[in-house]
Symmetry: C2
Subunit: 498 residues, 2 copies
């Protein structure tokens, strides 16, 4: 291992000096062996938890005047890996991202090594062509005849961008004049839909009070009759109903809204229909589950986070738009230092003016490489394994003492449930009983995390008056039924004395 | 090289199968040798240019039903590398990002392998602690006593976020109510400042017409007297002056606005002062050049793109805010599925509610690793090399026939100039003469790109009535004076017959 000071590797024309590329080879080996191989090993812990203050002293945080040696840097990297949560580990069910995929991982590294900005063809030729190919492919899957799209830094950004497009479509002059003097615009989302629409409403100046919450049914799907009532009321009160955000796979319950019915209401009232398919969108890749997104072609826009169920490293979020040309019109600023018309190539490939930002990280390549590796069939199989696993898990829970499902059936690949310790089983579900149940999940979670044995999130859902329950997210394609059994055994092990 | 189908590497508990980690090792070796080592080799081309249609057929774009073998994937990666622009190459002067750094590169790969979301401590402990450390360090450098900050996906996003904070500070109720019923808000930027403020104004609903352009001086700096006149006029006309975006290092001319003087005007009229230091911010790391950011501590917020002059792979943009707590207040939505108060650790480390988005890629680690490798002294030296190089280049150009600088002196590390072919030298600069000059840069650019010898951007600047000129961006710390000589020789070689 080199102990050369890295400073000796900089300076005129010295890069790539052998020492620097040696360091990169060593770093890559370390990452592959420690973060990836060990990080995905079911016999190793999913987390080595330390409280913030402890962690600060374990990490060699301080940046000082002097350089570090390569050996010191590799040691720092080892410490970072050790205390990082292993999101590719087969016992990580905590969040909507999981399941490390080697092909998109390689694509991500390639993206970093060829770092560039996906705004002009002259600096980003390959990735622009790849992004456009992917957008066409995904539009085809959604049923958009002449769609468009972009990769954006995350689902909330994609949802906000869609809202911005809807507003531009309704009142193009708002771009120049601002909201002053235009009717008050209203947005609609189901009670269970993601909170990003509220943040979006605040950000784009429409205000969270103008986000109208629509009731949901027992599965967590939007109540379409209630949507229509609320749109009509708003119209009668002089508001302009602008934007409905449906959800294809809700964050907590995994519900898929009925897009066809919602679209009928939106068409009737001339309201933009966006689907937040960030979580559940990938179902459309599977012949077995694609019916969940029936009506996708009727949406004006749809957001899909490939860094969730598809297992691409964060960030990889696509916004697809039914109407080609709208993104340019809404965002065009013609910065003359970037988008010169007198270039020697076809400048329609300078796509940067479609966005709300200037620079943008090219997030498509890593998805393309995964898709290339797996093929359409493998992309479908990857998703189906998770759907099949979660159905096995929910079925088994419904038949096992001590597990109580929040909804009778699962829709996407997340399943929500309470664990009932033996001493609380078979009792009347009084207010006091629920007060006790509320404390169970946090205690089990703490035990699991401190043991490094498993990670599952819990939370209440006050819109439905529900106290803390577990949400197990199944999206690692390397999981099998034995892992599902482990989920239940481990929760029972950590919770039976509570 | 393995020819196993990657499909054989997926399935229950099969990852990390040997075949998958073998693939990752092969991919890493390929990236280091081809994209990085060859990509930075001055004797190799900086670009192998193909027009979009050619490129599409050279890349094996199509995604089909069936999987690819590892061998095929590695071949695809080779093709991608071949046709990607080599932004780490010593002849790449085209954009504000350049100069591949091995340490942040390793940090970027580590970020991908430990992929997670920087919203809650439970899933992102290490990177949250690192981001907070970096924010404190940078706030200290700026002179913020009790500042705060976040890494965001790009400079435009950071500028827009700052505008959103300023608006919240002025009228917190706009978060809930929207802009309806509040005074018309106005924003100010110099004519030469970045166009992102216009996009921001459109996005947040304030409208591009409410972005007031302030005059600039001969160096491209904001005319502070004109700023005050415009703010006063607006006040007299019933507007609310909200936000001044100063610039520390303008995109084209590299000018640094006088922050101390601007701050005086902002304080007097109670206007938020933001500095877009995305490009020129790093000067503050150097004892020799930090005077350029004099007054940084007077700004209410400042955006700094570490993926520009600091050489971190995209994206690495920090927004620093003088007032702690404001980001939470402006953005808090308390999503109960993420930010449960009954967690067993100190939930002040669950920082996700500071943002406008939900998920966020942790972009700090790669910067931290570079800083660790170089130390404060190395961070300064890295910047100073570019400042010194550009001063050498500008000095030499000012003394060389055929080169005409756009501004007499350079401020940041970009230099703008016209090349005058021999047949046009020594003539009166008539309108017709300029019409001829206008066509020179595009032709030289085309020749350089097609030869793969050098990449430099050109563009007009209509706000100053200037026709196409070159903007050479010097930010690769591995450049030396011989490279600066090459810049001039190559442009002369490609342009002398025009």
């Amino acid at each position: 291992m080199s102990t050369l000071s890295p400073m000796s590797t900089t300076g005129p024309h010295s890069f790539p000096q052998q020492a620097a590329t040696d360091f990169l080879h060593q770093a890559a080996d370390l990452i592959i062996e420690k973060a990836i191989k060990e990080g995905c090993d079911p016999s190793a812990p999913v987390v080595d938890f330390k409280h913030p203050q402890e962690l600060k002293s374990l990490l060699n945080l301080e940046l000082s005047a002097k350089p570090s040696t390569h050996e010191e840097l590799l040691d720092d990297m080892k410490t970072i890996i050790r205390y990082s949560v292993k999101t590719g580990h087969p016992r990580y069910y905590n969040q909507l991202f999981a399941g490390l995929d080697p092909y998109s991982q390689a694509g991500a590294w390639l993206t970093e090594a060829t770092t560039t900005n996906i705004h002009t063809f002259e600096v980003c030729p390959v990735q622009i062509v790849i992004e456009q190919y992917l957008v066409e492919k995904i539009c085809g899957i959604l049923g958009y005849q002449n769609g468009d799209g972009l990769f954006l830094p995350g689902g909330s950004t994609s949802n906000t961008f869609a809202l911005h497009l809807a507003r531009f479509q309704a009142y193009p002059e708002i771009k120049e004049k601002g909201l002053y003097g235009f009717p008050k615009l209203r947005m609609y989302k189901a009670e269970d839909a993601h909170y990003s629409l509220k943040k979006a409403a605040s950000y784009v100046g429409l205000g969270t009070d103008n986000v109208v919450l629509v009731k949901t049914d027992s599965k967590g799907r939007m109540d379409v009759a209630d949507l229509e009532v609320k749109i009509s009321q708003d119209k009668n009160n002089g508001y302009h109903p602008l934007f409905v955000m449906a959800t294809s796979g809700t964050t907590v319950l995994g519900a898929y809204d009925p897009l066809v019915e919602i679209s009928r209401v939106c068409k009737k009232h001339n309201v933009w229909l966006h689907s937040d398919a960030c979580w559940g969108g990938p179902a459309i890749l599977s012949p077995k589950y694609k019916h969940l997104l029936e009506g996708s072609e009727l949406c004006d826009s749809l957001a899909w986070n490939f860094h969730k169920l598809n297992g691409i490293p964060l960030q990889c979020s696509a916004l697809l738009v039914k109407q080609k040309g709208l993104m340019e019109k809404a965002n065009k600023a013609n910065a003359e230092y970037l988008f010169q018309p007198d270039k020697f190539y076809d400048t329609s490939y300078d796509i940067g003016d479609k966005t709300i930002m200037c620079g943008r990280k090219p997030d498509g390549l890593k998805l393309w490489l995964q898709w290339k590796a797996l093929g359409d069939e493998g992309m479908a199989a990857r998703i189906e394994r998770s759907f099949d696993n979660v159905r096995y898990l929910a079925e088994k829970m419904s038949k096992t003492d001590g597990f109580k499902l929040v909804t009778k059936e699962v829709s996407c690949t997340n399943v929500c449930f309470w664990y009932i310790p033996p001493r609380l089983r078979g009792q009347t579900e009084t207010r006091e009983w629920w007060e006790e149940i509320k404390t169970v999940a946090p205690k089990i979670k703490e035990r699991m995390v401190k043991a490094g044995s498993m990670m599952i999130g819990y939370h209440p859902m006050s819109s439905r008056g529900l106290v803390n329950f577990f949400r197990t997210v199944i999206n690692n394609p390397n999981n099998d039924h034995s892992d599902m059994n482990f989920v239940m055994e481990e929760i029972d092990r950590c919770g039976r004395d509570l």
